[in-house]
């Protein structure tokens, strides 16, 4: 079943990709193919493959259960949050939070996670900022 849904999704993607390619118009002709031929060929290629997948699906995928799925979503959200927090609160604080959080998510106890967060954050800061000479944000909150 998963294969069929994948096939249908990819087919829609191929159609959208191919249709969008029709808008690549040029006034001057540089070469016989122009900018739209290759994307349209790719769209056709993907369309054929996805139809094959729809017609002859193989085994289904085992998707993770709800708890795991939730954890994964939380992880993605946390990574997005990290990217957003990096500038305001600075590298060290943001990294302590994200590493600690990930560690808890991956089965560490609280104190283990905290320790991992602090140590790795400081180590990475020293490595990147001090040794490799790569400026990392110190954070607006701390006057960076």
């Amino acid at each position: 079943m998963t294969d069929r849904i994948t096939g249908i999704t990819l087919l829609v993607l191929a159609a959208a990709f191919g249709l969008h390619a029709r808008s690549f118009n040029t006034n001057f002709l540089t070469d016989p193919l122009g900018p739209k031929a290759w994307p349209m060929m790719l769209a056709g290629f993907l369309a054929v493959l996805s139809i094959y997948l729809i017609v002859r699906p193989q085994h289904g995928t085992e998707w993770p259960n709800r708890v795991v799925l939730l954890r994964q979503l939380v992880l993605v959200a946390a990574l997005v949050g990290y990217a957003l927090l990096l500038d305001p609160i600075g590298f060290v604080a943001a990294t302590v939070l994200i590493v600690g959080f990930m560690a808890v998510l991956m089965g560490a106890k609280w104190w283990q996670a905290g320790l991992t967060g602090v140590l790795s954050s400081v180590a990475l800061y020293l490595l990147f900022n001090t040794v490799l000479g790569l400026p990392l944000p110190t954070g607006a909150l701390f006057g960076g």
Partner: protein, 510 residues
């Protein structure tokens, strides 16, 4: 003689203090990456690419660092295979067959020693092969025109689809997706923006590094949440790491044969080390296994696949350097790095940047000696690493990848793009669509289109021009054979470790 002269110059490059340091560092880091369960060479190299950028290394130094990581990871992959029965990546699967039984019988130290010697033999012979064959292939490749290059790219994808992965259709889907991603950005001939959705950030196309780190490192963290194997990271004691000379002598021919077979599989575009170790093992089983001892802890069953996969790693560098077509996932990542440094691998690399090619070859010889030392007397360090819990490992590895990308661009947009690729990569892996062809498509897409358009331009729009020269016909025939033959004759093994937790992502095939 010419070869020796060039090699001499190469050693001049390799023995610059910085490059020696990088080779040592790379070999050490690579062995760690390889030894850690679930982290393959492609992952390791991908994560370290941004770091090599921030160091501001020259191309030859960056390549030396990352190729050492690559070779090191091939050595290290055997450690968790033998001791824990958990292959770090797909090529190491074959090593579990005899390595783990040996460990259970208390001969783990002996298995580690024999496999280290086998890795050394395989990698060294492959470096010799690289040195001898790459220049020849480069000379041939100078005659390639746009039509031949286009045919070559088609061939790369067709052999990739038949030799890796379980489902050729899904491999081709991965390739199509990668090629489609490559069209994002300004069209090179007309400067028309394609699929940029008005985002200025997309005008220059999708950054390879952002895509690769996302696809490999971020998706790995998501997969890890699923597999959280409790009790996997156990403390493990090995006795003395040494093997009886008799055991090593007895498997010497096995190592040589495994190296040759492995090297050839490595040179085939897309085949890579998994095929190398598989063919080496089955060939040896057929040739020397008279008492059916293979699979029960026969030292030769450890030597064959290790020689095979290390030789394949060297072989995979041949098409990457001479044609710009990577032979494996990891060489695809290396190619991405070279392209980002404005070095285009291909026949001209050998004349324009001999210091890159020969410096690399020389430092591979040197790196191999270093790796042998690291993996024989010092192997205990890496064994101890097996007990590092995943909840320390994964967050730190993810952060190194994160930081690397951030350090290149300082742009939050790129980080979001990377997270997006991570989620995409996770979905693809769940759907059994391998990641290597996606990366290959993303890397080669531009060149593929440019060469197609150039060929048709030269041929005034006549499609027959693609078949014009004998050379291009040969490549098309090979592409066709690559697609058809394996389906008929070469049954890929069902993953030997099917009952194992699927640690190695498809994408990190070697």
């Amino acid at each position: 003689m010419e070869t020796l002269h060039l090699l001499g110059q190469g050693f001049g490059v390799a023995f610059q203090p910085l490059n020696v340091g990088l080779a040592l560092l790379g070999a050490f880091a690579g062995t760690i990456v390889g030894a850690l369960p679930g982290l393959g060479p492609a992952n390791g190299v991908a994560i370290l690419i941004p770091v090599s950028f921030t160091l501001g290394l020259r191309p030859e130094s960056a390549l030396i660092l990352l190729a050492s990581v690559y070779y090191g990871a091939m050595y290290g992959g055997r450690i968790s295979s033998i001791l824990l029965n958990i292959p770090g990546d797909e090529p190491a699967v074959m090593t579990t067959l005899d390595g783990y039984p040996m460990a259970k019988q208390g001969r783990g130290g002996s298995a580690l020693a024999i496999s280290a010697v086998a890795s050394f033999v395989g990698a060294t012979l492959a470096t010799v092969g690289l040195m001898l064959f790459a220049p020849v292939l480069a000379k041939l490749a100078i005659r390639f025109g746009p039509a031949e290059y286009f045919a070559l790219y088609v061939m790369a994808f067709s052999t990739l689809s038949s030799l890796t992965g379980k489902n050729p259709v899904k491999t081709l889907i991965g390739a199509a997706l990668g090629l489609m991603l490559a069209t994002v950005g300004l069209d090179s001939a007309t400067n028309i923006p394609r699929y940029t959705f008005g985002q200025m950030k997309f005008f220059e196309g999708i950054d390879f590094i952002v895509a690769i780190v996302g696809l490999f490192a971020i998706s790995e963290a998501l997969v890890f949440l699923e597999t959280l194997h409790a009790g996997q990271f156990v403390r493990y004691q090995v006795g003395r790491v040494s093997a009886r000379v008799r055991d090593i002598a007895r498997s010497l021919m096995t190592m040589v044969r495994g190296s040759i077979v492995g090297f050839i599989s490595g040179v085939l575009p897309g085949a890579g080390a998994s095929l190398g170790s598989f063919v080496a093992y089955t060939l040896e089983k057929r040739l020397v296994d008279r008492h059916n001892t293979f699979g029960t802890g026969d030292p030769r069953g450890v030597a064959a696949p290790e020689a095979g996969n290390n030789a394949a790693a060297g072989g995979a560098l041949v098409p990457m350097l001479t044609l710009g077509v990577p032979g494996s996932g990891t060489t695809a990542v290396l190619l991405a790095m070279l392209m980002s440094l404005n070095i285009t691998p291909g026949p001209l690399l050998f004349t324009q940047h001999p210091e890159v090619v020969w410096g690399l070859i020389a430092s591979l010889y040197f790196g191999n000696v270093v790796l042998l030392v690291l993996n024989l007397p010092l192997v205990g360090i890496f064994v101890r690493l097996l007990s590092v819990p995943g909840w320390i490992l994964m967050p730190v590895v993810t952060m190194v990848g994160f930081l690397g990308v951030y350090s290149i661009s300082h742009s939050v947009f790129d980080i979001f793009l990377m997270i997006g690729f991570g989620v995409g990569g996770y979905l693809l892996r769940k759907l059994d669509i391998p990641l290597v062809p996606v990366i290959l498509g993303l890397l080669l897409g531009d060149d593929m289109e440019v060469n197609l358009r150039r060929a048709l331009n030269l041929g005034n729009g006549d499609w027959l021009t693609l078949w014009h020269s004998p050379l291009s016909i040969i490549l098309w025939v090979l592409a066709g054979l690559g697609l058809v033959l394996p389906l008929l004759f070469l049954r890929r093994p069902q993953r030997v470790a099917d009952d194992e937790p699927d640690d190695g992502p498809e994408g990190t095939t070697e």
